[in-house]
């Protein structure tokens, strides 16, 4: 299914690139499956996350990022196989030392209000982030790492000047929305605080000034946000006239709303509802997502309690005792894949597929623990270092539902290897984990999840000693790993970088700060009125590409 959609995307892409900046109406290729194509119409999307702000310096929800993707230009975007393809930039090159990247941008492009959209807007956006990277725009500081300045020598050329080479340049520019300088420059005066308080909301006759295929014409937080076709969009025009994103406070209500035709598409179908929707003849897409679930073993070098948990043998025994297949079957009803490394499969080449999970084996786990001399007490619980092997497992609210089921399975199997686990639900898990003073002292085990960007740089960085109190949720700290990370950030050659990245994944896998339980599937469902979505690792309305809602059409 994804394959056939992918074909359609590529066709659209080619048209889009060929058309350049012209905004001439384009019929586009037809027949990407699912009936005859009709122009126009309104697509109603359900969102569980919600658009928390239209201001890119403020919003943090996934739906907000997807919104920016569709209303603002980015230089590049991802294709369904996680490769970079053109967006506002039509082509790009870099100098051999990796210090200068040059992008050629769409000619004659316009913002939705008719003002010219040029390389100067790109330069302003990036230079503005650099200017305030220690205050207002600190949230985006990562994308301008080592970036000295950005120049726009002419209307269609931008030059990025780096102080030292950065391998993830394309990944960085992919996630940065280019803002209209003529709207935003006034808020960048002084300390730049106004950049954050500017709500960027539409008014009755004035949509948000946009440069993407759509513009926001009406916004209601925790309600519905409406997007209309942007008449001045530089690429191939979308087939639908408008779409809306409606916030739902729970997933079950989304499914009910889809079934009763109050909406057309939902992005996160709860696995137990898939069969019902299939029976009711809805279209279902399932494919890999970048979300994965982890069983975390506190690895903080500061921690002195329960030292047995630092023993690699014990950690290996734990992995043997985790029945990934049963978790997938019961908690996720089959909509997940066994997990291995911290770089998920959706990262394409960066995922090291040579790493295999240990097979589920209570016997092996027991023999390892027996070998360590941790004998079982009268209650069947082993004793290690003078205390029973009984541990709390921190359980953040985000894991509720399926995670409860996964925990129960792990708990039952651990009982058989003489280890007692107690589920400990927590609110504000991160501050509990890092306490005190970012030393990670007060807990042993936890369950959580990650949805990292496709480029591995971020998730690799989250495992460094440097990210204590910042991103680390395991307290993992390994000097050799950190050295590899530093080397990775300066390796521009893809193959050389890949070798390092694989080595790092192997290292984390062996040390087991995490047992990656499973890679989740993304599950989307839509009715028969629409066809042609382009699926991505983050669903069909995502911050990874603009293709999906350009290609989708009425049937």
């Amino acid at each position: 299914m994804q394959k056939s959609l992918g074909g359609a995307v590529l066709a659209v892409m080619l048209v889009s690139v060929a058309c350049g900046g012209s905004s001439a109406p384009n019929p586009g290729p037809s027949g990407s499956g699912g009936g005859p194509m009709k122009e126009g119409g309104t697509l109603r999307i359900a969102a569980f996350d919600g658009i928390d702000s239209l201001n890119p310096y403020v919003g943090i929800n996934d739906d907000s990022y997807a919104t920016y993707e569709y209303i603002y230009p980015q230089l590049v975007q991802y294709d369904p196989s996680a490769k970079f393809i053109p967006d506002f930039a039509t082509s790009w090159t870099h100098s051999s030392d990796g210090l200068t990247w040059t992008f050629t941008t769409q000619a004659n492009a316009k913002w939705s209000d008719g003002q010219p959209l040029t390389a100067a807007d790109v330069a302003w956006t990036y230079n503005n982030i650099i200017k305030f990277k220690d205050s207002v725009t600190a949230g985006a500081a990562g994308v301008v790492q080592n970036l000295t300045k950005v120049e726009a020598p002419d209307a269609t050329t931008v030059k990025f000047i780096y102080s030292s080479p950065v391998p993830a340049v394309l990944a960085n520019v992919q996630q940065t929305s280019i803002l209209p300088e003529h709207i935003w420059a006034q808020y960048a005066a002084g300390d730049g605080k106004a950049l954050k308080t500017f709500p960027n909301t539409p008014t009755a006759n004035m949509p948000v000034v946009s440069g993407g295929p759509f513009m926001v014409t009406s916004y209601q937080q925790d309600g519905t946000t409406l997007f209309d076709k942007n008449p001045n969009w530089y690429g191939a025009p979308p087939h639908i006239d408008r779409f809306g994103v409606t916030y739902f406070s729970n997933e079950d209500a989304e499914v009910t709303a889809l079934k009763t035709n109050q909406i057309d598409v939902i992005e996160n179908v709860p696995p137990p509802s898939v069969q019902t929707l299939k029976d009711a003849n809805f279209n279902i897409y399932t494919g890999p997502s970048s979300t994965y679930r982890t069983f975390i073993i506190n690895s903080s070098p500061f921690k002195k309690t329960n030292p047995e948990l630092m023993d690699p043998q014990v950690r290996m025994a734990f992995e043997y005792a985790i029945n990934r297949q049963q978790i997938i079957d019961t908690a996720w009803l089959g909509y997940a894949q066994p997990g291995t490394t911290i770089v998920p499969t959706t990262s394409g080449i960066w995922h090291d597929s040579s790493i295999q999970p240990l097979p589920f084996s209570i016997e092996k786990a027991n023999s390892i623990l027996d070998g360590l001399g941790f004998t079982k007490g009268s209650d069947g619980i082993r004793v290690a270092n003078g205390h029973p092997m009984t541990y709390d497992v921190l359980f953040p609210g985000s894991e509720r539902g399926a995670g409860d089921r996964a925990f129960q399975i792990i708990q039952g199997d651990f009982q058989q290897i003489g280890v007692k686990l107690i589920q400990k639900p927590v609110q504000g898990a991160y501050s509990i984990m890092t306490a005190p003073d970012n030393k990670y002292l007060n807990w042993d085990l936890a369950m959580w999840d990650w949805t990292p960007p496709l480029d591995p740089d971020f998730i690799l960085s989250a495992m460094t000693c440097h990210s204590f109190g910042n991103w680390s949720d395991s307290g993992y700290c390994n000097k050799a790993y950190d050295a590899l990370y530093a080397k990775q950030t300066h390796t521009v050659d893809e193959q050389a970088r890949l070798a390092i990245v694989n080595q790092m994944q192997q290292m984390v896998y062996n040390d087991r700060p995490y047992v990656v339980l499973n890679y989740n599937d993304t599950i989307n469902a839509w009715n028969n009125n629409f066809a042609g979505f382009v699926q991505s690792a983050q669903g069909l309305f995502s911050a990874l590409d603009k293709q999906s809602l350009i290609a989708v059409h009425h049937t």
Partner: protein, 320 residues
């Protein structure tokens, strides 16, 4: 004289309560775990610099008492702070939320009062008959079911027939005035209906028992003995006297209803003040929580005060 004294006392009490509420709100929210920053800074590539910047921005780096003084100062100027999540003023955010919640709650409560008083009077009048038993038992049943569960049951039964999410159909453009009102009303039926059904039973039982109680009073018995028709007694004396506890109860309930709609707003994705409270707990958005909490407390104080005044107006024993 006595009446004025009474009113003054109640007013002073209301004002004091508001002051206590303001202070306790502050204390309560500063004690919450997980400061806003550790949540907000969980965005890709967050740096320690960002965390510091955010802490400064929200004044979380200052000592508690300074934060308190700042809070009082701002509140005095009608400024309830800025949402951590969307950086917009809490005041306008809450105004929007309340404007969304109030019509739904008003409709639900009005329905509950009408049904409750109606069935209560009917029950009392027809005491001991099948009608009485049927209406009393129905009231007890609706009164005993959990709000969220009743909402879910209505969702199961009626989701295909009535809209189950949001306040209006965002895609219906160019509706006329009446058509858009009709659309809004349709969206209100399920949440307001849930509220009405869960509330009305309580009213029925109270009205019925106050009526019966009044009917046992000496003066009613005397009237009866004198041969006044039962319906006349019911209309003139019993009903009027039974209204006293009923109205008090209703006024008292109103204050809590707004806070109690969280469950209904969760089930029907209603973008009201209850949902704001719930979402801001999840995102540790103190200013919104604090603001909402203050507004809800004030509404309870207000309705209690209203109940006092009503009581004062209606009870001859006080105003005499």
């Amino acid at each position: 004289m006595r009446g004025a004294d009474y009113l003054l006392k109640r007013t002073v009490f209301a004002v004091l309560t508001v002051l206590v509420a303001i202070t306790l709100n502050f204390v309560l929210f500063r004690a919450l775990p997980g400061d806003a920053v550790s949540n907000l800074s969980r965005v890709p590539h967050a740096t320690p610099a960002l965390r510091l910047a955010l802490q400064k921005e929200f004044g979380l780096d200052k000592p508690l008492w300074q934060q308190y003084v700042l809070y009082l100062e701002q509140l005095a100027h009608g400024n309830m702070g800025v949402s951590y999540v969307n950086q917009q003023p809490v005041f306008s955010e809450l105004r929007t939320r309340l404007a969304n919640t109030i019509p739904m709650v008003a409709l639900g409560t009005a329905l509950a009062i009408i049904i409750g008083v109606g069935t209560g009077v009917l029950s009392a009048w027809r005491r001991g008959t099948l009608t009485d038993h049927a209406s009393t038992n129905a009231a007890i049943v609706f009164y005993a079911v959990p709000t969220q569960w009743l909402g879910l049951m209505l969702l199961i039964l009626l989701a295909g027939v009535l809209p189950s999410v949001g306040m209006h159909d965002p895609y219906a453009v160019g509706l006329g005035f009446w058509a858009s009102k009709w659309d809004a009303l349709k969206h209100m039926i399920l949440p307001s209906g849930t509220l009405a059904l869960t509330l009305y039973g309580e009213f029925t039982l109270v009205v019925r028992s106050s009526m019966l109680e009044t009917m046992g009073e000496d003066y009613i018995l005397t009237a009866r003995a004198k041969g006044t028709k039962p319906w006349t007694i019911m209309r003139t004396d019993a009903l009027r006297n039974a209204m006293l506890p009923t109205i008090t109860l209703i006024a008292l309930s109103l204050g809590y209803i707004v806070g109690g709609t969280i469950l209904i707003e969760e089930v029907f994705s209603w973008p009201g003040v209850g949902q704001a409270v719930f979402n801001s707990v999840a995102s540790r958005d103190y200013p919104i929580l604090q603001g909402a909490f203050l507004v809800l407390t004030l509404s309870v104080v207000f309705f209690n005060f209203l109940a006092d005044i009503l009581y004062f107006r209606m009870d001859p024993r006080i105003s005499a």
